[in-house]
C-alpha cells in the first residue's frame, strides 16, 4: 500500500521539461507534496479510473488534475470528456494547461466542463506564476465538494 500514497495533484504532461518546470513551479508554491505525473492520456485514464498499472490505487480522487491538451495515445480533450462523463470523477477540478491558445480548444474544453483553462507562457517567471496561481486556487481557495 506504500506504493500508492495520497495524491493531491495529478499532472498529465507528455513533455518532461514542461513537467519538470510545472512541478518546480508547484514546489515553489509549496503545493508539491503529493504530485503524480503521468505521461499520456491512456495512463491518466488508468490512474483516474484505477485500472491497469493503477488498479491497486486506493479509491480516492486526486484534488486537482492539471491536464495537457495535446497528449500521446488519448488526447487531453478525450480525457476531460471521460472525467466529466463519469459520476464519480465529475467533481474533480480539471485545469487544462496547454501551449495552445487556439480559440476552438478553449471553447471545446469549456463545453466539456473544464474548471479552468491556462495557457502556458513561454516566459518562465510568468509560467511559474500562472501554474502556482492555478494550483493554489483550486487546492486551497476553492472548497471542493466532499
Amino acid at each position: 500500500m506504500d506504493k500508492f500514497e495520497k495524491v493531491d495533484i495529478l499532472l498529465v504532461e507528455d513533455n518532461p521539461t514542461d513537467a519538470e518546470l510545472t512541478m518546480r513551479a508547484l514546489r515553489k508554491s509549496k503545493l508539491a507534496n503529493n504530485i503524480t505525473w503521468v505521461k499520456d492520456g491512456a495512463e491518466a485514464l488508468e490512474f483516474i479510473f484505477r485500472s491497469g498499472a493503477f488498479a491497486e490505487r486506493p479509491d480516492e480522487n486526486p484534488k486537482l488534475i492539471l491536464l495537457d491538451l495535446k497528449l500521446p495515445k488519448v488526447d487531453g480533450i478525450e480525457v476531460l470528456k471521460r472525467i466529466k462523463a463519469d459520476e464519480r470523477t465529475r467533481i474533480i477540478p480539471v485545469v487544462m494547461v496547454t501551449s495552445s491558445a487556439e480559440g476552438r480548444d478553449v471553447v471545446e474544453s469549456y463545453k466539456l466542463g473544464v474548471n479552468s483553462y491556462v495557457v502556458k507562457p513561454v516566459d518562465f517567471d510568468q509560467f511559474s506564476d500562472t501554474v502556482a496561481k492555478a494550483g493554489l486556487y483550486w487546492m486551497l481557495m476553492n472548497k471542493a465538494p466532499e
Binding site: T17, D18, S99, V122, F124
Partner: protein, 584 residues
Amino acid sequence: MAIAGSTIRKIATPLTFSARMRWRYAAVFLALVFTGIILIAWQSYRALDHELTAAALSRRGAVSDLAAATLSEKFDHLVDVGISLATRVRFRQLIAAGQWAEAIEILRDVPRDLPFIERLFLTDVEGTLMADVPELPGVRGKSFAYREWHKGISRYWRPYVYPVYQRAAAPQLNVFAVAVPIRSGDGEVSGILVLQMRVDIFFEWLKAIEIGPEGIAYVVDPEGQLAFHSKFPGRNEIVKFSAVPAVQRVLRGSRGVEVTFDPVEAEDAVSAYTSLSGYGWGVVVQQPVQAAFAAKNDQLARLLVAYGLVLLFCVLIAYLVSRVIVQRRQAGVDLRAKAELERRVAERTAQLEATNKELESFTYSVSHDLRSPLRAVDGFSRILEEDHAGVLDDEGKRLLKVIRDSSQKMAMLIDDLLEFSRLGRKPIAAAEVDMGALVQGVITELSAAPGAASPEWRVGPLPQAWGDGVMLRQVWVNLLSNAVKFSARRGQPIIETGGNTDGDQNVYYVKDNGVGFEMQYYNKLFGVFQRLHSAEDFPGTGVGLAIVQRVIARHGGRVWAEGKVEQGAAFYFSLPKGKPHGQI
C-alpha cells in the same frame, strides 16, 4: 483566366466535333429534301409543259378540223345543189333532147338565188360548152375537154369538185367548179352541169373560224394549188404549194399537227392539216411557234416564278431553323461550359479549403510544439540563474539573459505570426462599430500599461464603421501603439486621430510627431516581418502593420501612409461605408 479559357476550349472541342457531325447530317438531309423538291418541281414542270404543248397542238388541230369540216359541208352542199339541179326531170329531158338553150333557161335564176354560185354552164359529154348563165361571149361551142374538171368527171361520171383555175372568159377570175353529170332517163350521161364559184367564197366560209394571233389558214386543191390563203385573200395568180411538207401530207389524205419549218413563211410554225375526205382538198392552219406557245410559255413562266418563290421560302425557313438550332447549340455549349467551370471552381474551392484546413492544423501544431521547447529554454535558463547563480560570473549571467531574451522574442514572433494567419482565416463578423468608443477604449488600455508613455491625445470625430469589431480593434491597437512607440522619445509626443467621410468610404487616420520613416522604404512598410527601425531602438516583430493591412483589405478598404524622417508619420485607412461586398 488562362485556366478558364483552356477549360472552355477543352470542353468545347468534343462538343463542336459531335455537333459538326450532326450539322453535316442535317445539311445532307436538307440537300436531299431540296433535291427532291426540285426534282418533283422539274417533273411537274415537264409534265405541264408537255400537257400545255399537247393542248396548244390539239387546239391547232381542232381549228384545222373545224375548217376542213366547214369546207366539206360547203362542198357537199355544192354537190347537192348540182345534183338537185341536174336531176330535175324536165331538165334531163331537154338535155337528152339536145335542147341546151331551153335547159339553161330553167337554171337562169339560180346564180341570183344562190349568190355563191358565180356562173353555171352546160357541156356535152365531150366537154364542149353548150349553154351558160350568165352568158359570156365567145365561149359557146368551145371545147373544154382539156380542163382538169372534164378529166376528173369523165373518169367515173360522178360529181366532182375540181381544182382552182383561171377562168378563160373575162374577167379572168380564179374559180373552182363542181361538175355534175346529167343523165337521161335510161341512165346514159347526156351532158355535164358545171357550177363555177369564185375562190373568194372561201374567205366567206372560213372567216368565222378563229385562227389565233399571227395565225394563217389556207386551202389547197388536189393539185397542191393554193385555193385560198387568209393572208392574201384577193390574190389573183395561182400558186403551187405542193413543196410545203404539210401540203404534201394533206394531199396524201392524212391529218395531223406538227412543228416544222415552213419554207414559205420562213419560220418554225405549228401546222395543223386536215384533208377534206372524198374531195382530195386540204386545209392547213398554221401559227408561228412563238405565238402558238405564247400562252403556254406565259403559264410556265408563272409556274417557274411560283416554284422559285416556294424554293426561296423553303430556303428562308431552313436558314431560320438552322439559325435557331445553332443558337440553341451555342447556348447548350455555353451552359455545359459554365457548368463544367462551376464544377471546377467548386473542386478548387474544396481543394483550397482542404489546404486551408491543413494550414490551420499546421499553425496549431506550430503554436503548440514550438512554444514548448522555447519555454524549456527560458525556464531552464531561469532555473540556472536562480539555483546556480553562485557558479556563474557576470558574463555568464549576461549570456543567460541573452538566451532568455531571444527565446521570448521568438515566442512573440510565433504569437504574432499565428495572430496574423488567424486574422486571414477568421470569418468577418460584421456589425455596426462605434469607432469613437473603440479608440477611447484602446487609448485607455495603452495608457494603463505599466511604464506607458503619456503622449498628448487629440481625438477628433470618428465616423461609425461597418465591420468586425474585434479585428478593427486590433487595427487601432496596432496603429496607436505604433504611434506611442515611435513618438515616445519626443519631448512632448502628440498623437492625433480622426476620420471623415469621403464619398462611399470612411477614412480614418493616426498621426504622430515621432521618428517617422523614409518614404523610399514605403513598399516594405506593410510587409510581414518588415521593419524600418532597429529592434534595439524600437522593439517589435514587424507584423503589426501587416495585420492592419490584412484586416482592412478583408473589409474592402485600403491602407496608406505618409512619413518623413524625424517629422512624424501618418497612417490612413479607408472602409466602405456600407456592408463590404464579399471577402478578400
